[in-house]
């Protein structure tokens, strides 16, 4: 019973830290009925976007032409991915077997805040923003397909924990704070060779929640989500046990668990003064035509109202729904073995609506002693190609903590692509 409890609580740290691959084996040898855990995670990462570039963009400074060229040279023609996330939460577990007459059931209540900004963009979009179109006269700038999604929401999670079946499941009530969803299948800017005309072909949509109220307490949307965690123990005969097989007693031991997890699979209905813009148009501008050389009013060469009418589609205000950036994950975590200080680990996750690729990882964990352990892994996917990760864990009798990163190179080098940091604290009563 305790083992299951420990397992669930240990792995449920990962529930709130979806981008972190590191479970926290903090609750071994626990005998507590109330557990509180909290976490904070932040990262930003972009394919080809070096830390030198991102640091300038976020913390200020001049982005030189050399730095822009360095970044552009690392971008692909299309589907360059970028993500920025901040996520924090706290969760309370009551595992005192008081629910349903004490038969293996517990409950958890969690509160979580998440901000996620992601994008998939083309190399030409980067060029248009950071270089302009002056060196592309007579050429096209294909700024699409481009996607941008920015969402902030808070969720209140109610889960049931079934210790016997090694699972936790429940639902969340979600408050939508803000959202922008921009999709441009086509977004092409053509500049004629003699500068006689520029043409913008756009096939795009923009969904935007209420822009007048975007603070933490803004209630611009409401939704719901499902959450579930399920552990399958993986058992095997030990060497000692195998030796006894001829005595017709087959004794198997749990060597690890497969964990299946769904986090925040749901939606938000943005109903408070939303805006929807959709366009499928071609706009050409040839400049201002001088028709009468001697009686020409050139005070308004570019009529911004006409330009806006031509470029900006009409605003619609009907409510719309967005799918939450749910995380689907599967992982294998070996059971801690006092006799073996090194163990393997592997897993994969995919976050939908996040402009990211699936992540696959594998690594090793090293137990320094009963309280301290560390792990190092390699990751493929997400917003980068290959990354290395590191985790350091402290497991005390009443308190545990973890600090981890999925982007070790980014944390120590300006040549890295992005940064990632994850803190977790767990308290046991």
């Amino acid at each position: 019973m305790k083992a299951v409890l420990i397992l669930i609580l240990t792995f449920s740290i990962g529930l709130g830290v979806a981008q972190s691959i590191f479970p926290q084996n903090l609750l071994e040898d626990q005998n507590n009925s109330l557990v509180i855990r909290s976490f904070a995670e932040g990262f930003y990462q972009g394919q080809g976007l070096t830390n030198r570039f991102i640091d300038k963009f976020i913390y200020g400074g001049h982005i030189s032409d050399e730095l822009k060229q360095e970044v552009e040279s690392q971008l692909k023609t299309e589907e360059n991915r970028m993500g920025l996330c901040f996520r924090t939460g706290i969760k309370f577990y009551d595992l005192s077997d008081s629910l349903f007459k004490g038969k293996h059931w517990g409950i958890s209540i969690g509160l979580e805040h998440q901000q996620l900004i992601t994008s998939s963009f083309t190399q030409d979009l980067f060029h248009a923003v950071f270089f302009g179109n002056a060196d592309r006269i007579g050429q096209d700038l294909n700024m699409g397909p481009t996607r941008l999604s920015a969402v902030q929401f808070q969720s209140l999670k109610f889960n049931l924990v079934n210790k016997k079946n090694h699972c936790e499941f429940g639902f969340s009530v979600v408050k939508g704070q803000s959202n922008i969803t921009f999709n441009a299948d086509q977004f092409r800017l053509s500049t004629e060779a003699n500068l006689s005309e520029i043409t913008l072909v756009s096939q795009a949509s923009l969904f935007q929640s209420n822009t007048n109220s975007t603070g933490f307490f803004a209630g611009n949307g409401i939704g719901a989500a499902l959450n579930a965690v399920y552990f399958i123990p993986i058992k095997s005969l030990s060497g000692k046990q195998k030796a006894k097989s001829d005595e017709s007693e087959t004794e198997k031991v749990t060597i690890g668990h497969l964990k299946f997890e769904i986090d925040n699979f749901g939606f938000i209905n943005w109903m408070s003064d939303p805006s929807i813009y959709q366009t499928d148009s071609t706009y050409s501008y040839s400049g201002f035509e001088i028709q009468d050389l001697f009686n020409q009013d050139i005070s308004n060469l570019v009529d911004t109202e006409v330009l806006a009418d031509s470029l900006l589609p009409t605003r619609q205000t009907s409510p719309y729904n967005t799918i939450l950036p749910a995380v689907f994950s599967v992982s294998f975590e070996p059971t801690a073995d006092k006799n073996n200080s090194i163990s393997g680990m592997a897993g994969a996750w995919y976050q939908i609506m996040a402009n990211a690729r699936p992540v696959v990882y594998g690594g090793v964990r090293y137990r320094l002693n009963e309280r301290f352990s560390g792990a190092i892994v390699g990751l493929v996917g997400g917003y980068a190609t290959i990354n290395a990760g590191l985790q350091l864990t402290y497991s005390g009798s009443k308190i545990g903590a973890v600090i981890a990163t999925n982007n070790l190179i980014g944390m120590v080098s300006k040549n890295g692509n992005g940064r990632h940091l994850n803190f977790g604290v767990i308290c046991k009563f």
Binding site: A134, N194, S286, I399
Partner: protein
């Protein structure tokens, strides 16, 4: 239990430390954004486009297209019009009359009784003219009535010799009672448009004479009689203002109108600061039209072409010689104006040097004698505002020319309201497709404050002429690109001063041959800009 409490307290203590750490970390990261994020991008976009032919450069009505598609410039300008004040000056003096009862002592007058009724003839001095009749297009009669009558009165001004659509001029004014010491005063005006005045007086033999009738009555609604004495006077002041005669009859005198040496500016021509313009045959006509019913003798003493190059006086047989203009005839008020025309050309005058001097001013000195032989028509002079005395010139200039470094210079004023501090440099690219057999070198100079203008900012200044055949006819256009490049300092300089100097030097193909400009010649211009812009995100 106590242990558990201690533990919980220690947990909260650690959580406090953690929150403190997170807050410090947050402040650290927030304070890391010490400066704005900046980068520079360069954007390109079209600005303006146009296609210009000759008719876009001159007034359409001035351009004549000949069967061979060649063009002539036909310019008609009125250079002089005789002001009616030169013939006679309408009266603007104030007529002041005092009216009172004719008998001594005091009488009691009941309501409605008219105690003053005076008919008068007033003769005006109209600067040497003797008018029998005048009608007005506009003007007004101003009056001021000052009354010492101790009861309310109704005063009327009637002019039987002034009619409008058959009705006599009549205006009625109400005055409040005076205390006998401080008078009651009323002022007003009456529009005189369309009034006709018979100025021949009561016997029909006088000139410049008006008949008027002034009367004063006690207000019929006044309830009590009013005591009137010969001290209870009523003063009426009348004046005329802004008189605009429409028609007039009489004798207009024999004034000598001398127009001293005067100049007429030709605005566009002062932009030409150098070079030569070789023109083909030019015709200039001077036409004098007389619609005023008087005999006129006019003399043009001199006519000069003035430019920065020098002054060229027009020499022609009519210059300095008197020109007699016959009196026009009229039927009713329809006037058959008389005309006098003289033509200047290369054979009869020095017109070509006169024009090729590229004058920015024309000066002239003339005199006009009205009725040089006196009142030979027995007060039969007439005037109708629709038929003036005026002088026109007509210039026929075939657009067959040779331009040799013909240099035009002008300044342009700029007013930029937008914040341009983030623009780091800019380039104007002017693509020209030239169908004119005329090339140009364009230079743009920026103001350099007190030092005048700095070096030109045009790095590619040449617009090449179109390709011509052996007859100097255009057979193909030529493409050129002008580049005007401005750095940060020059942009700020341009915006700060708000002024730039443009100089264009024209040369025709195959000089010294003249080329004929055709109606289909044109130039297509596309102006685009590239701007280096510094983005700043805080």
């Amino acid at each position: 239990m106590n242990e558990q409490r201690q533990f919980i307290l220690s947990i909260f203590e650690r959580m406090k430390q953690l929150i403190y750490f997170l807050l410090v970390a947050l402040l650290y990261f927030a304070s890391c954004k010490k400066e704005a994020t900046t980068w520079t991008s360069e954007y390109a976009a079209p600005l303006v486009f146009t296609s210009l032919n000759i008719s876009d450069m001159v007034n359409d009505s001035n351009l004549l297209v000949h069967p061979d598609s060649s063009l002539s410039l036909h310019i008609e300008r009125e250079i002089y019009r005789l002001n009616i004040d030169s013939l006679f000056t309408t009266p603007d003096t104030t007529i002041s009359e005092v009216h009172a009862v004719a008998f001594p002592g005091t009488i009691s007058v009941s309501a409605g009784f008219t105690f003053i009724s005076d008919v008068e003839e007033s003769t005006f001095n109209v600067s040497g003219a003797e008018l029998k009749y005048i009608s007005l297009n506009g003007g007004q009669l101003n009056y001021e009535i000052i009354s010492y009558v101790t009861g309310p009165t109704i005063d009327s001004i009637k002019i039987p010799s002034a009619t409008k659509h058959g009705s006599e001029f009549l205006t009625v004014i109400h005055l409040e009672e005076s205390d006998g010491t401080i008078p009651t005063t009323v002022t007003g005006s009456v529009d005189l448009s369309d009034y006709e005045f018979d100025l021949t007086g009561s016997d029909g033999l006088k000139y410049n004479t008006l008949i008027s009738n002034i009367s004063t009555s006690i207000d019929p609604t006044h309830s009590t009689p009013v005591d009137i004495s010969n001290a209870d006077s009523v003063r009426i002041n009348v004046s005329f203002e802004n008189i605009d005669p429409g028609r007039a009859l009489g004798y207009f005198g024999n004034e000598l109108v001398e127009v001293p040496l005067d100049t007429v500016s030709i605005p566009f021509m002062d932009k030409i600061i150098g070079g030569n313009l070789d023109l083909d045959d030019i015709d200039l006509s001077l036409s004098i039209t007389n619609g005023i019913g008087v005999d006129i003798q006019s003399t043009v003493n001199e006519l000069n072409s003035i430019s920065s190059i020098g002054t060229v006086a027009l020499s022609h047989s009519t210059i300095g010689s008197p020109i007699n203009l016959n009196r026009p005839s009229k039927t009713g008020w329809v006037v058959n104006s008389s005309e006098y025309t003289t033509t200047f050309n290369n054979s009869s005058s020095n017109l070509t040097p006169f024009i090729e001097n590229l004058p920015n001013q024309i000066s002239y000195d003339t005199k006009i004698q009205i009725n040089p032989f006196g009142d030979v028509n027995s007060h039969g002079d007439f005037y109708h505002s629709d038929y003036p005395l005026k002088a026109d010139i007509v210039l026929d200039l075939p657009l067959c020319l040779g331009a040799n470094n013909l240099t035009l210079q002008d300044t342009i004023q700029l007013s930029v309201d937008q914040d341009t501090s983030q623009i780091k440099s800019g380039t104007l690219k002017i693509h020209a497709s030239n169908h004119f057999p005329l090339g140009a070198e364009v230079q743009v100079y920026l103001s350099n404050g007190a030092n005048g203008f700095a070096d030109s900012v045009v790095s590619q200044p040449i617009i090449a002429p179109a390709v011509v055949n052996s007859f100097n006819e255009v057979i193909a256009p030529t493409a050129s690109e002008l580049l005007i490049e401005l750095d940060t300092e020059q942009i700020h300089q341009l915006i700060h001063s708000g002024i730039a100097l443009i100089k264009v030097i024209f040369n025709t193909t195959n000089l010294p041959n003249r080329i004929k400009l055709k109606d289909w010649y044109h130039i297509d211009l596309n102006v685009g800009a590239t701007i280096k812009y510094k983005h700043e995100v805080n």
